[in-house]
């Protein structure tokens, strides 16, 4: 399965690519932003893939100009609640902090709200990851208020807010 839109190709994660993803994921430049930061063994990665290789989880390799540069996902899709949790990382330094991440996210979110017919996309963001908070806010995510301040904060995005922000982002990206 492939999603080609906005100048990027998202390729559904297949078993032959899980070692590549494991190497990316174990690199401190990526793991520092993850809640789980321990070393991931090949066996752990295989077990993880068995758990996510289904219709409730869509993990995609991001391909740009023929290179595999990162991973994007919608996971734990609940078709009754019509929601799922999004995540992304760009591994290739040449494309880190570029507009590619926005192009990838818009591509996958169109799939989530369109094909999967979700109403809400959720994201957990660590409180000190200011960069991710600003990024998600630009996409239209809103923080869910909690009684106590928590380290791993919940943000949600609905289709209406997404469409509004998407329009502006696409205009800026000339897409």
């Amino acid at each position: 399965m492939e999603l080609s839109k906005y100048g990027v190709k998202l390729k559904r994660l297949t078993k032959d690519k899980i070692e590549l993803v494991r190497n990316w994921r174990n690199d401190p430049k990526i793991s520092q932003f993850m809640e789980y930061r321990e070393y991931i063994t090949p066996e752990m990665q295989e077990n993880w893939f068995k758990k996510i290789d289904n219709e409730n989880n869509f993990f995609f390799i991001i391909e740009f100009e023929g290179n595999d540069i990162g991973l994007i996902n919608i996971k734990d899709v609940d078709y009754d609640k019509k929601e799922g949790e999004a995540g992304i990382f760009i591994y290739n330094s040449d494309f880190l902090n570029s507009t590619i991440s926005f192009q990838s996210v818009l591509n996958m979110f169109d799939f989530c709200f369109g094909d999967l017919r979700l109403n809400t996309i959720i994201a957990h963001i660590l409180k000190d990851n200011i960069r991710a908070i600003k990024y998600n806010t630009a996409l239209g995510f809103k923080k869910v208020p909690t009684k106590k301040e928590v380290y791993n904060q919940l943000y949600t995005l609905n289709n209406e807010d997404y469409e509004k922000n998407k329009k502006n982002i696409l205009k800026l990206l000339n897409l």
């Binding site: 902090n97 570029s98 507009t99 926005f102 960069r131 600003k134 990024y135 982002i169 800026l172 990206l173």
Partner: protein, 76 residues
Amino acid sequence: MELKEFINNFAEQFDETDRTEFQKNTNFKDLEEWSSLSALTIIAMVDEDFGVAIKGEDLKKSTTIEDLFNIIKSKL
């Protein structure tokens, strides 16, 4: 459009970086505050303030603020 004006407008898009760090030779992608969102913000600033549409590719091709200024100038 003057380079000085462009550097000022560029610097205004950042909240946490000291103004003195923005010089014509600044490698802007090395700034700690630089992010995907900064890229988008700079594209918006260039569009609003100078009426020029630049692309992510233009940012990728630029190393310094002056490099980006020259690309924008060529599109005026």
